[in-house]
């Protein structure tokens, strides 16, 4: 186990360690005139030479476990070392709770590493529901440092589905969104919870309260791509309800009349109209107030005007909005 004491201690070459005198290290075979000949730091070279010797001899011993610890600390990305470590852990019947601590040490150094997370899942699978709370805590800790950490979210979703622990998950999403309402990962997790949690009753049961929550989030930050997409997702497979829910059109109207950060409100209004929404004069006035359209567009229908405004205020995607406009004519 890598304690801080051990890390601070001077590194002793394996050749000078009496307990390793019976092992003949095996050098990396890069082939003749290798494509990418690599010169490694001495301690890395020696550690890997001893690792190859033990791996080839398939020595699943406590010292082999210690050696993989050192090798992983030097390069946590080495896939073969992790693989051998699992074979050793199995053979020794090692304490897997201690192994969780080890992966946490590695995660403190670099947590964006596929091997680490895969190893962690392997352990959790073996520990079963005994690992649930520890895994939720672990991912929470990683997410407190990087709230969009893809591996951590992926692991957390796996834990919930495989081991459970859904009870506080929606509350956890609330917490993260309170910290950063733009956190798309947290919105995604929220959707994951309301559609998959076995205790909340699914999307239909959650829709009303979630629409309320999302509308508030949108009004607070109308430039937030994530909350708008979430709102749309709440009406998945039910376009009719989406088009006719006054809460959806009124949040568009509210944002438009504030005349600020209105791109997503306009694009939602456009989508609604494309699905049959009949806008009132209030919408027409709100859109007109966003800027004078070109003279040849005066008097054109509202959807066309919306596209024109979007072309102007979101120039980097001008071709997308032009395409949307051309599609309106095709529909007619």
């Amino acid at each position: 186990m890598a304690s801080s004491d051990e890390e601070n201690r001077q590194w002793i070459p394996f050749q000078q360690r009496p307990e390793w005198s019976d092992v003949t290290p095996i050098a990396q075979d890069d082939g003749p005139n290798p494509v990418v000949p690599i010169a490694y730091k001495d301690n890395f070279v020696e550690t890997m030479d001893y690792f190859r010797a033990l791996y080839q001899a398939d020595e699943r011993s406590p010292r082999a476990l210690g050696l993989t610890t050192e090798a992983i600390l030097l390069n946590p990305g080495n896939y073969t070392v992790w693989h051998f470590r699992r074979l050793i852990l199995d053979a020794l019947g090692a304490d897997l709770h201690r192994e969780l601590d080890f992966t946490e040490t590695i995660a403190n150094g670099n947590s964006k590493n596929y091997q680490l997370w895969h190893h962690r899942r392997w352990i959790a699978e073996k520990l079963g529901t005994n690992a649930t709370s520890k895994e939720l805590e672990f991912t929470k800790k990683i997410l407190s440092l990087d709230a969009k950490h893809y591996h951590a979210w992926s692991h957390r979703q796996w834990v919930l589905e495989a081991l459970g622990g859904w009870e506080n998950e929606l509350y956890y999403c609330d917490e993260l969104l309170e910290e950063d309402i733009f956190n798309n990962s947290a919105w995604n997790q929220r959707y994951f919870v309301i559609t998959r949690s076995p205790i909340l009753g699914g999307l239909k049961a959650m829709r009303a309260s979630e629409v309320n929550y999302t509308v508030k989030a949108i009004v607070a930050y109308p430039e937030n791509e994530s909350s708008w997409r979430y709102l749309r997702g709440l009406y998945k497979d039910d376009d009719h309800m989406w088009v006719n829910d006054p809460q959806v059109s009124s949040v568009c109207s509210k944002v438009l009349s504030a005349k600020h950060n209105f791109v997503f409100a306009l694009s939602t209004l456009l989508d609604l109209m494309c699905h049959g929404f009949q806008p009132s004069q209030e919408f027409r006035d709100a859109v007109d107030a966003l800027g004078t359209p070109d003279s040849d567009e005066r008097g054109s229908d509202l959807a066309t005007t919306v596209c024109s405004v979007l072309e102007r205020v979101d120039p980097i995607r001008v071709n997308y909005w032009r395409w949307r406009k051309s599609k309106l004519f095709q529909a007619v």
Binding site: Y79, S154, R317
Partner: protein, 319 residues
């Protein structure tokens, strides 16, 4: 706007092979196969593949193969589907796939498909839509797609589709441009692009372009040159690439070059590496930058290589 320092990038890639004691070398040792793919494909796009010794590389690749048929990231390393695709791609670059025992390689990949249609990366069973793409791309390149259950593979990928039209690593996983490339690529190769909501996904993808012209991989994240590949190739496959501002993206990539020593970084003024150099050059190739070979957005190989494998083969069959 600066120009592509093509010659410098060639020198940079060749120099990485010789660099001593660098941190990059140490951490790259176990994924040298991926490094070989990134470096050699970049050289090919720049028209300089002939400067390397083909026989040496091919004999090294063969040494990385295991009895199972899979390839390790280097000699003596365990096999994984990640390195198996890179090995096949590099051999394809050199038109040397005939050195492979095709049945053996395909059996390895086929054995990684799970009951639900998904793929594991190796015998330990990690599941991810990345591996679906890798398996499908790899089998297609060696003409053995018929050995897996394609329908189930496609259905699994579609089950990872999100409300924003994008795809994640497993069902319910957040949409991420890298995963989207994998899913769209796999659907393109299997002729299943109709399972995508192209307009919705296309809009999400073009929302990834930020003010400085670069692309990010998820909302509110920083732009990174690697997404010039992941986002752009996906947009091309679903025929929506004209929705972004290409000129601005070209400028962003060119601004990430090290004009002195060659190489491309993730963002302007960061340190360069082979990975981002590949994605930068490949992105520019997709943007039809002059002087670069065209790259295929699904197979991530030069178009002439892909044509040689598919069109050439048909002709041979006829004779």
């Amino acid at each position: 706007m600066g120009e592509l320092a093509a010659e410098k990038h060639v020198q940079y890639i060749l120099s990485v092979e010789k660099k001593k004691d660098s941190f990059e070398s140490v951490v790259m040792e176990h994924l040298r196969m991926n490094g070989a793919y990134w470096g050699l494909t970049t050289l090919d796009l720049l028209g300089k593949l002939h400067t390397v010794d083909v026989d040496q590389i091919v004999s090294w690749i063969i040494k990385c193969q295991h009895d199972s048929g899979g390839f390790g990231g280097n000699i003596g390393h365990d096999p994984h589907i990640l390195y198996t695709l890179s090995a096949v791609q590099v051999l394809a670059l050199f038109d040397k796939l005939d050195v492979l025992d095709i049945e053996k390689v395909s059996n390895y990949v086929v054995g990684l498909q799970n009951e639900d249609g998904s793929f594991s990366g190796d015998m330990w069973g990690e599941v991810d839509t990345r591996f679906s793409y890798i398996a499908i791309c790899c089998l297609s390149l060696i003409h053995r797609l018929d050995k897996i259950n394609v329908e189930k593979a496609v259905n699994y990928i579609v089950s990872c589709k999100n409300l924003d039209g994008g795809f994640g690593c497993t069902p319910g996983g957040e949409s991420h441009a890298g995963q989207i490339f994998c899913c769209v690529g796999a659907l393109a190769i299997t002729g299943s692009l109709h399972r995508i909501d192209k307009d919705l996904l296309g809009w999400w993808l073009c929302e990834r372009q930020v003010k400085n012209g670069g692309l990010n991989g998820r909302p509110e994240k920083l732009p990174d040159v690697c997404y010039s590949w992941w986002v752009l190739s996906s947009l091309i496959m679903i025929d929506r690439v004209h929705w972004i501002d290409k000129r601005k993206l070209v400028k962003f990539i060119l601004d990430c070059q090290d004009m002195e020593n060659g190489g491309i970084s993730d963002r302007p003024d960061d340190a360069v590496d082979v990975y981002h150099t590949y994605f930068g050059v490949a992105g520019l190739s997709l943007l039809e930058y002059p002087g670069l070979k065209a790259i295929d957005p699904a197979y991530a190989l030069p178009v002439d290589v892909v044509n040689r494998m598919f069109i050439g083969r048909k002709l041979k069959k006829e004779f």
